[in-house]
């Protein structure tokens, strides 16, 4: 049993998520706290950093999480973008992350 679980873990490659807001110190930090909790709860193989989106250029990420009104800024990127409207709606973020990992693992 243990062995199987270990093998499963090995197979899942770790993904990276960037959480963006305008200055990278307000809403993105709150989002990061919520996402960190979800990672712990669901064991998502996900590494999270948060930043101001001015500092976005040149950073590679599989997932971008941001407040919904900034969605347009990330239109041209290939990453999976999650736009959050209600910052307390953890279920929505969880659903989106589950959807991503169901499609990409």
């Amino acid at each position: 049993m243990m062995r199987i679980r270990k093998e499963e873990k090995k197979k899942m490659t770790r993904k990276t998520a960037l959480i963006m807001c305008r200055t990278g110190m307000g809403s993105s930090l709150m989002l990061k706290i919520k996402v960190d909790k979800l990672i712990q709860k669901n064991n998502f193989p996900l590494d999270v950093t948060h930043d101001a989106f001015s500092g976005f250029a040149g950073q590679k990420a599989d997932i971008i999480i941001t407040m919904e009104d900034l969605l347009d800024e990330f239109k041209s990127y290939s990453a999976y973008v999650i736009g959050v409207k209600d910052i307390m709606d953890v279920d929505f973020i969880e659903g989106e992350l589950k959807k991503y990992f169901a499609e990409n693992s």
């Binding site: 990278g24 307000g26 809403s27 990061k32 706290i33 948060h50 001015s54 500092g55 919904e68």
Partner: protein, 423 residues
């Protein structure tokens, strides 16, 4: 004895290490694994140091602007950016600020636990700014560090609970629920904007059906927004002051290139400051969240203003423009009156004007958005001018706090200072 002296005066006298120690305790309380504890502590200390490095870069560029503005117009030009003035204050009273911030959070918890004002203020940046303002005010009353820290912490705790409560009625209209509060110290303006909206407009005629030109959204980017708005005024000041005045301070750089390079350097400095704040808050705020959830279950988190932006994105742009026009008009009036001139830098007008716009829109549609943000624009232009003399008295210059809630605290302190004869 020798070791105790070393710990108290040398080790903890270094504010960055003191802040690191607080992060360390916070991480241990949360029972984080050892690697997270080490990396979190190191990042907090480095973040606090980066903060100071950005300060000197931004300040150098700001000094040039000030000198050109005063040569050109014979008036003092002040750019109200909370990050810049906080970074300046941090070089004067680093320890007082750090302790007011952390002990103020403890006061916030106690007040939220035992009164009906159940709000936990989680916008770390604004707690830091308020701690800096309080350090400036209390130290200029001539108080000792210990007394300044104690009084400052109590005031910060009160502000953390009372200000979000002030805007909560309007906040419910904005978000459609009573789950979160606004944690941005312009609640006077936001509550006012919501109230004005309800008097003059109709929430069913909202902003979100209006189409705005796409280029306006470039102001969303911090770097672009600061560079453009500061650059325009830097050039105006340089051209009015004239070639020789610029060459006197430009170190041989061409006088028409100098304003551009100084503007970009200023933006760079400001960006370094935010990066430092981000590193430093990245460890402190999660600890605040963890502790408050345990100590005051069911309290409402008061969060940074962009959390309301998704509810009315168009109102954020309209609100910014309306507030900015108010700021420009105020600047012209100040020049005409010959007072200290508040330069409308885009950043405070964007965040504060946008939020006021969202509040006005929620209660009064587009009319509420435009008028509410306009009044807010006047408040954040006049406010920094009112409290600027206090900043100057203690040796800070060129910047001031735009936040309306800070202005009120400054005015109250001004009365107290005059009453007891300290000022």
């Amino acid at each position: 004895m020798f070791i105790l002296e070393f710990v108290v005066y040398d080790l903890l006298g270094e504010a960055s290490l003191l802040v690191g120690l607080m992060a360390l305790v916070g991480l241990l309380i949360q029972k984080k694994p050892a690697d997270k504890v080490i990396s979190g502590t190191v990042k907090t200390i480095v973040g606090f140091l980066i903060f100071g490095i950005g300060s000197s870069a931004a300040q150098g560029a700001l000094n040039g602007f000030q000198s050109l503005f005063s040569t050109g117009f014979g008036l003092e030009g002040v750019t109200p950016i909370a990050e810049a003035i906080t970074a300046q204050a941090q070089t004067l009273f680093p320890m007082v600020i750090a302790l007011i911030m952390v002990l103020g959070f403890a006061c916030n918890l106690i007040i939220a636990r035992f009164t009906r004002f159940k709000y936990i203020f989680l916008t770390g940046g604004h707690s830091l700014f308020l701690a800096a303002l309080l350090a400036i005010l209390l130290k200029s009353l001539g108080l000792s560090d210990v007394i300044a820290i104690c009084i400052g912490a109590v005031i910060l705790g009160l502000a953390s609970c009372l200000y979000p409560a002030l805007a909560q009625k309007s906040m419910i209209k904005v978000t459609g629920s009573n789950e979160i509060a606004i944690g941005h110290y312009c609640t006077i303006a936001y509550a006012l904007s919501g109230w004005i909206g309800s008097k003059i407009g109709d929430p069913s005629k909202g902003t979100e059906s209006i189409e705005l030109p796409g280029w306006l959204t470039m102001f969303k980017d911090y770097i672009v927004s600061v560079s453009l708005s500061v650059g325009v005024f830097y050039y105006i000041a340089a051209i009015i002051a004239g070639q020789s005045a610029v060459e006197a301070i430009s170190n041989g750089q061409h006088w028409l290139l100098f304003p551009l390079m100084q503007t970009l350097t200023f933006t760079g400095g400001l960006y370094v400051i935010i990066t430092g704040v981000r590193l430093f808050l990245g460890e402190i705020v999660p600890a605040f969240v963890g502790i408050s959830e345990k100590f005051v279950p069911g309290a409402k988190p008061a969060l940074d203003c962009p959390v309301v932006f998704p509810y009315a994105p168009t109102a954020t742009v309209l609100g910014f423009i309306s507030a900015y026009i108010a700021g420009l008009l105020c600047m012209l009036v100040m020049v005409a009156m010959g007072t200290t001139v508040i330069i409308p830098v885009a950043i405070p007008y964007f965040f504060i004007g946008a939020t006021a716009g969202v509040f006005g829109n929620a209660t009064g549609g587009w009319k509420g958005c435009v008028v509410g943000a306009f009044i807010t624009g006047i408040l954040i232009a006049v406010g920094p001018a009112i409290i600027y003399p206090i900043m100057k008295n203690i040796g800070l210059s060129g910047s001031s706090f735009p936040e309306t809630d800070f202005t009120l605290i400054g005015i109250i302190f001004n009365l107290i200072g005059k009453l007891i004869g300290a000022w």
